[in-house]
């Protein structure tokens, strides 16, 4: 009965710690997902000079094609852009379609969609590279916004990683301590088995098995609890912000992540059990208590 309640309380502590760990991982994961979705809109527009030659255009196209930072490219020639402008602005600016100068004002351009995780410095370098290319008038990629965004992401990501690491460290500390206490309460049992000539594997196996089972059941409980809390949280947020695409993209653990979390949870308690039992099962811890007058 005492053993059962000890096992139960140990499992409860592990459950709580693992839930915290999963929670901090989900926070980090969803933030990254959010950033990624946002970053997918990273674009660069390379405006071309009116007098760009065919060779210059082809050279630029080759350069764009060979750059790994660029995911997709769309070329808009003057006629196409003009057509778009006219379609969008004709009703607002009467007489626009008749302006002969309009064609000269509108430049041809390449619209480049960049990789979501491209660093601002890389984008800046790419921009400078295009800027130096013959036939390029101007390169636009929202430099100010990108720099602010990168700093913000860095700060939030550092804060989240720090919080996650603190929670992970503290949780692992609690897990190893609670398992150590659990094993330590059976110190005399271990000593009795040593006295009777039990080998290390015979003594350690039940403790390691118990550690692995405690870890396994606790991590399953923690996945269940965090899953339940995640669903509740998502439902609440969706109700509050129904149109936000970021809210819709909130994700729980994927299949591989679940497997890693599950095995990691088992491994953490297994290792804690291993170190605790190794500390106690030395073969030299005596049941004889020396009395001194």
């Amino acid at each position: 009965m005492k053993n059962q309640s000890l096992r139960f309380s140990t499992m409860m502590v592990l459950w709580g710690c693992y839930t915290l760990m999963i929670g901090s991982f989900l926070l980090y994961k969803n933030f990254n997902q959010f950033i990624k979705n946002w970053g997918e809109n990273r674009e660069m527009i390379v405006y071309l000079k009116n007098d760009i030659s065919i060779q210059e255009l082809e050279s630029l196209q080759t350069k764009i094609k060979n750059d790994k930072l660029i995911e997709t490219t769309q070329y808009s020639n003057k006629e196409k852009v003009l057509e778009q402008y006219q379609g969008q602005l004709a009703s607002l600016v009467p007489g626009l379609n008749e302006d002969p100068e309009l064609m000269n004002l509108i430049p041809a351009s390449f619209e480049l969609k960049l990789q979501a995780d491209a660093a601002p410095e890389t984008i800046e370098a790419l921009s400078a590279n295009f800027q130096n290319q013959d036939g390029v008038e101007e390169v636009s990629y929202g430099k100010e916004w990108l720099n602010h965004f990168a700093v913000l992401v860095k700060v939030i990501r550092t804060a989240l990683v720090s919080i996650a690491l603190i929670i992970f460290g503290a949780s692992l500390f609690v897990i190893s301590n609670v398992i150590h206490t659990h094993v330590f309460r059976k110190k005399e049992e271990i000593e009795i088995l040593e006295m009777l000539g039990a080998g290390s594997s015979m003594i350690r196996f039940p403790f390691l098995l118990e550690g692995a089972l405690l870890g396994g059941f606790s991590i399953l409980g923690a996945v269940g609890l965090s899953g339940f809390l995640f669903v509740q949280f998502k439902e609440y947020i969706v109700t509050q912000y129904p149109l936000s695409s970021a809210v819709q993209s909130l994700e729980f653990l994927g299949g591989v992540e679940f497997l890693i979390v599950f095995l990691g949870g088992i491994l953490a308690s297994l290792l804690s059990s291993y170190f605790s039992i190794s500390h106690l099962n030395t073969g030299r811890s005596s049941l004889f208590r020396i009395t001194v007058e």
Binding site: N3, E188, E189, E191, I192, L193, E194, M195, L196, G197, A198, G199, S200, M202, G283, R284, S285, S286, L287, F288, R289, I290, T291, V292, E293
Partner: protein, 232 residues
Amino acid sequence: MIEFQHVYKTYPGPVHALKDVHFKIAKGEFVFLTGPSGAGKTTIFKMISAYDSLSSGELQIGDYKVSELTTKELPLYRRKLGIVFQDYKLLKNKTVFDNISLPLIIQKERDSYTQRRVREVLDQVGLFHKKEQFPESLSGGEQQRVAIARAIIHQPGILIADEPTGNLDPELSEEIIDLFEKISAQGTTVFIATHDQTLVKKKNKRNIHIQNGSLVQIGSFVQNGSFEAKSL
């Protein structure tokens, strides 16, 4: 056979727990180890059961030189011993039957042999009717008999007992010592540490007396109660 050859044990401090301890106990002999608390009795038992190392000297137990035991040999060596404690050291969550069968389970004996041997020793210690009970439901004397049964089930060559009657009344103490005598009669070397001079005097057995870590007397109490000393 137990043979201490000029054994010294010094703990940090320094505390000289054993000083030039030198004696020999033959196979099948029944010997008492007496002396006041802190004299070094338990240290001697710690040496025999290889829980502690010697500072110098030599200790031979049967075919084993205790100072040369490796970590791997340690469990195998301990399987040759039977150890009894004043406070029994039984596993509280196991029945009498399960406690007694532990040494044979550890030695991976066949189940049928284990069952038969447990029944035999339970008969020997007179506790067959209590085999399904847990230690906490037994009296002190009964618990000690369970501990003795566990210590002899694997038929060890040597049985050591540290104050086995320390928690028992005189009548029960004598019962327990009688049980040890029977075990000794079957060829097991029995070495018992005790404070109980009355009990030692009653039995005409060899007595090793230790004080401040040194042997002061080896001999035996004869029938008229006087001590017949032998050379150290």
